[in-house]
Amino acid sequence: MTTTAQPATTEFGRARKRKEDARLITGRTRWTDNITLPGMLHMAVVRSPLAHAKITRINTDAAKQLPGVHGVFTATDLGAEGISLPCAWPITPDMKAPQAPPLAFDTVHFVGEGVAIVVARDAASARDAADAVSVDYDRLEPVLDMEAALADGTTLVHPELGTNRNTLWVFDSGQAGSGGNVEGAIRDAEVVVKRRFRQQRLIPAFMEPRSVVVDPTGEQLTMWSATQVPHILRVMIALTLGVPEQKVRVIAPDVGGGFGGKLQVTPEEIITFLVARRLGKPVKWTESRAESMVSAHHGRDQLQDLTIAARRDGTVTGLKVELLADMGAYLRLVSPGIPILGAFMYNSIYKIPAYHFACTNVFTNKTPTDAYRGAGRPEATFAIERMMDELAVELGIEPLELRERNWIKHEEFPYTTVSTLTYDSGNYEAATARAKELFDYDALRAEQHRRREADDPVQLGIGISTFTEMCGLAPSRVLGSLSYGAGGWEHASIRMLPTGKVEVVTGSSPHGQGHDTAWSQIVADQLGVSFEDVEVLHGDTQSSHKGMDTYGSRSLTVGAIAVVKAAEKVIEKARKIAAHTLECSEADLDYGHGKFTIKGTNKSTTVADIALAVFAAHDLPDGVEPSLDSDATYDPQNFSFPHGTHLCATEVDTETGWVSIRRYVCVDDVGRVVNPLIVDGQVHGGIAQGIAQALFEEAIYDEGGTLITSTLADYLVPSAADLPHFTTDRTETPSTTNPLGVKGVGEAGTIASTPAVVNAVIDAVRHLGVTDIQMPCSPQRVWRAVQSARGVTKSTSEHTTQATAGGGLGSIDAQANDNSGGAR
């Protein structure tokens, strides 16, 4: 099914150990915070303790007196009042967008917003001086609830906008001509199920806190930043600050995880730039974890109202999705578009004839939201997979059977969906069959039945998630049609060195994904050089001048295809010279694995030989330049559509609410696999983050708008003891829209796993009368749901929505459990 023939491969598909590791396991690292420059100063940020308030006075006198302090600056001092951080995705023409200053100058709009900065000789002095800055505020009422924010006469986060509504974005299959009218489908349905789900607010919680160093002492002002997007950052600094782009160099050195959380142009990057330029000295800013939790963007935070229409035989006839999405206090780089990335995914793998999606984006006095692993697609997948279970119960159909009745059959690809995407390939039957086998599905169902009959206090639940997602962002024309501010191409170049070694320059900017290893494997195959002889350069706008960076599971499906295209150009250049050297016509040459051979003979030459000949350039054909170096910019024709079946078995203690995952099996189809070691790692980490949403994590605000989960003691990033072993396997249905047949894998695990876990938790207690439990399914929430279903306590939504720091794993639950895994 793959579209092109590969050269004879020795590297593709091989579980190569990573090149990146040698430095990382020995501490020979280049995190931004490691950088020390001569004369470097340190910046600390004074942050608002209030969610919504007028700034009446900022007193910097005491701070300025402290030893080692070079300056204390407000927005006014830095001339930053007119600056607005960029939002590159105005999803509708009439979208309301507030000014987003890098430092608040008049009003603070969320707890953690910067108000002033201090620059001092060392980090500790800067922190001391920041604590000495006193700010007077007049409190304003905070807007914290999305539905209340939309009510008439409510307090406005940004009064100048006249509303807390950012925008309304609608897709309707009837209007688009891609399907029927959903209201008609609902009216005529034999069964209608309505549900509301809550996507709690999450914090990306990358392990490396953000850090920025700006050195203004060279001709090009150099910024090191712990960012996923050095190229976008450079362009945005130029556009936002009016700095000539050629005067800025951005470097993303070693970057310690991102998960979308470092897909941003941050206030601190802008401020560090401004103050370093002003002082003429290198300046570093490194955040504390508490600063990171409160000021780096958050993810998710949606209310989802779904209505599904079906016939009694299980055929789904329509789906209506109405969302409220919390933007927080400001629009960051792609905030408004995040829920829209889910708009095309609610129909998922199913043939749904009528579909309507409407999303209202809302401002509140909370930390801004933006991309977090999956970005819109986990929300969509959760909602549709929860709905399929609810519909199955309503119809009395086995939930896997209901899914199968509605999904796209493998022979129906390519398939254009009701939301207008064309899925190129897939085989849901194969992945599901394999997952059922590994899971021992029928045996677990039988055990579940026995334990229900026996009224076992610990009940068994089985959760299903048959997912697909759209990734490999993205065809530029599609991004254009969605009003995105840039294209979705990627750039690569290949430099053939005289000794036959190779430098590969990529516009992708890794932060843990293993690009150095995977790109080396791909290029080794293409050019017939050894894996070790390939060096991959990235993350520096001086060496890698052009790129769209790394997010949206795009690196392999877009970035690596650009590498392949560049390699093809190298080979075409080499072919001319090979023909000249071997004294034959180009048509007489066969190429394979780095070697040109005259057909039917054993006369040959290699790309490496030709690289040396080109370096000497003594004997080249007329008109041929002495270079094999080539570059390519690749714009994908389509998204990639990985899919898979995730099955989760949970043990739920009905007396304590404790949930433990007994078995987790997933069979993912990510097309052809370059390096199975890396793919498995991506799937493991993705599943962990999805489970974390299902069971542990939530960013919780108190009634005053203070984030009370502002440390890793309160915000429960799971530890090794909190997570199970994952059984992973793959089916391989190649993508037909790229020459390697690959699909994205970075987000798949996160997208798929959350509904598998929550469906399993609810399945364990469904027979007791529980129909929903909000995420995270903490022991307290599960216990309350069971109690209220049994009529022991009064069922109120208050009980199940009430959240406490520690994600509900508070003292009640800790006492109730022998297993201390969740309560650190």
């Binding site: 396991i25 020995t26 020979r28 310690g256 890396i678 980490g685 983050q689 890793l712 003891a721």
Partner: protein
Amino acid sequence: MTRITVMVDDVSYVDDVEPRTLLVHYLRERLGKTGTVVGCDTSNCGACTVHLNGRSVKSCSVFAVQVDGSEITTIEGLARDGQLHPVQQAFHDNHALQCGFCTPGMIMQAIDLLGDDPNPDEQTVREGLEGNLCRCTGYQNIVRAVQDAAQKMTFAVRAPMDVSAQQRSLVAGGGN
């Protein structure tokens, strides 16, 4: 300022430090031992884990003045004569790291864990690493790596019945 004498990765240092200076900041900012990193400010993440006199500590939870007269081993002092410590090797062999930020602390803690239990089962490894957070790997390959290293190290020391000082020294990468 208080004067301390400390051995870090086999090099002796004498320094005047502020009483409030944390060991991790002393290591990073004064000694340039940037292999050890800071991931949080509440001692939850374990990224800063080092060995203090052969036992793992979170270096954000120790003041520099407290290590006067002590020996510190960081991730940078583990390899001997160009040979990786078996736990370092196992992390590489088992793809137990992605971004690598938690890795130094994770490796130092894993070595300590293997000192206590040279042949831990999966659950023991998971609980032994509970104080070290990783956001990339889902821990599966980390657990695998620690068990892999355990097997190789046990073989190397011929599985003594008790944890001898010699073995402690080997597993802690001290050797001095």
